[in-house]
Symmetry: C2
Subunit: 252 residues, 2 copies
């Protein structure tokens, strides 16, 4: 029998919410969501992130456009962007009279982890208040325009974007998409590729419908997601952000 | 009055635990922790991670050495490594007869986010069972040796490492380090640097002790953390992992 308690059950139940009622997220709720983010584990207690609370309707509309044209971003009661911030601490070092090294890719990945760990605490806190949420991975796209829209300086990179609000009845009853079984994503000790027959079985088990066609489904998913324009744009854009963190000729 | 409920209070209370009692993490508890990770939000429901459960004592000892020589890694009752996995889905695409593009830096950052979001659900689940945890950022270091130790193929990158166990009485009573006030890490709409006077005040407010000396403290922290050998190694090592994701002459 799997273990149960209020928190495990809440984590299991939580699913992404993309359509919200008109009910606002109150100031108290917003404060509780942010406080949960701050209280998340953070490398060396540095909080290597800055959180943008996007309240300006014009900026919301711009973000909806920049993030693969998703109007729900403009409509959501609350919208937070978690920025991996490799700038605050070096600024403090310089204020203290130290000339620190330039941030490198290790600093970026550590800050991205910090930001995402904090973001997930915000998600769990919101859920406990009856407030649904959805990550918007597209915040990584369009680096140049995003930097202008958010006034991002060098060494500050969008790691996660979240929209929050109360789920509509349809969103509440929508089934949560099934995950892979543990054997598909957990290895003991070292990384092992799943042999192709098991890989196919992993995907089929997740779908659990009689008409599932692995080849057709993966072909369609690849075209729609992985080989899509927005996915290619995400990698182009991420490379622009990375330039700040790479030594040598990339940095002009 | 801040909002309270069982989940908000648990997130606020949770602090890192680095010293564990001998009590094991049971199979049921391990299953509940992993299940919470799987149930986390994930981009396109892809679960862009593989979780390594490190059970081999010799491998644990090796990891303790590779992660800045921290013996607690070898001693912890449970040790999970969350790998950003940009290999599973392209393998599935190829099995389905598609020739997908190479993974790029956008895929890596999305998978790192996925892995860290799942890891933080594992932390929250463990906490609800009375099991403490600690992230080990050093898992990003020593890419070449880490790849050999964990059999990591290209496009699979350590995003987070967690150790778990029951806190000793000393760890239970240890005060949780204070976070920055909201004003120090939240901006409305666009990114704004804190003017130096406020930046100094942000750090002083977090410390809240009469003998706090901003300059001396930041100088010492920079030397101990940001400009340390392990931090420089982290960026060197991260650049090695990144090579797989960058187009052009970097990839031989």
């Amino acid at each position: 029998m799997p273990l149960h308690n209020e928190i495990l059950d809440a984590l299991a139940r939580r699913k992404s919410v993309r359509v919200f009622t008109d009910a606002p997220v109150t100031g108290e709720e917003r404060a509780a969501i942010l406080e949960a983010a701050f209280q998340a584990p953070t490398a060396g207690c540095q909080q290597l992130y800055t959180i943008l609370d996007i309240t300006d309707p014009a900026l919301r509309a711009r973000l909806a456009d920049l993030c693969d044209h998703q109007p729900m971003i403009a409509a959501a009661p609350l919208c937070l962007i978690f920025l991996a911030d490799c700038r605050r601490w070096p600024r403090a070092y310089r204020a203290a009279g130290v000339t620190p090294r330039d941030p490198g890719p290790g600093d970026l990945l550590l800050a991205v982890a910090d930001a995402c760990i904090a973001a997930q605490n915000a998600v769990t806190a919101a859920e406990s208040l009856g407030i649904g949420s959805c990550y918007i991975g597209d915040v990584l796209e369009n680096a140049e325009a995003m930097r202008r829209a958010l006034d991002l300086p060098a060494h500050v990179v969008p790691a996660a974007m979240l929209i929050f609000g109360r789920p509509t009845p349809q969103q509440k009853t929508r089934p949560k998409p099934r995950r892979f079984a543990a054997g598909a994503v957990v290895c003991e000790n070292t990384y092992k590729d799943r042999p192709e027959a098991l890989l196919r079985a992993d995907f089929a088990a997740r779908e659990d419908r009689p008409d599932y066609d692995f080849d057709a489904d993966l072909q369609a998913f690849c075209a729609r997601k992985y080989d899509s324009d927005f996915s290619r744009e995400m990698s182009r854009s991420a490379a622009v952000y990375l330039q700040d963190f790479l030594p040598g000729p990339q940095q002009e």
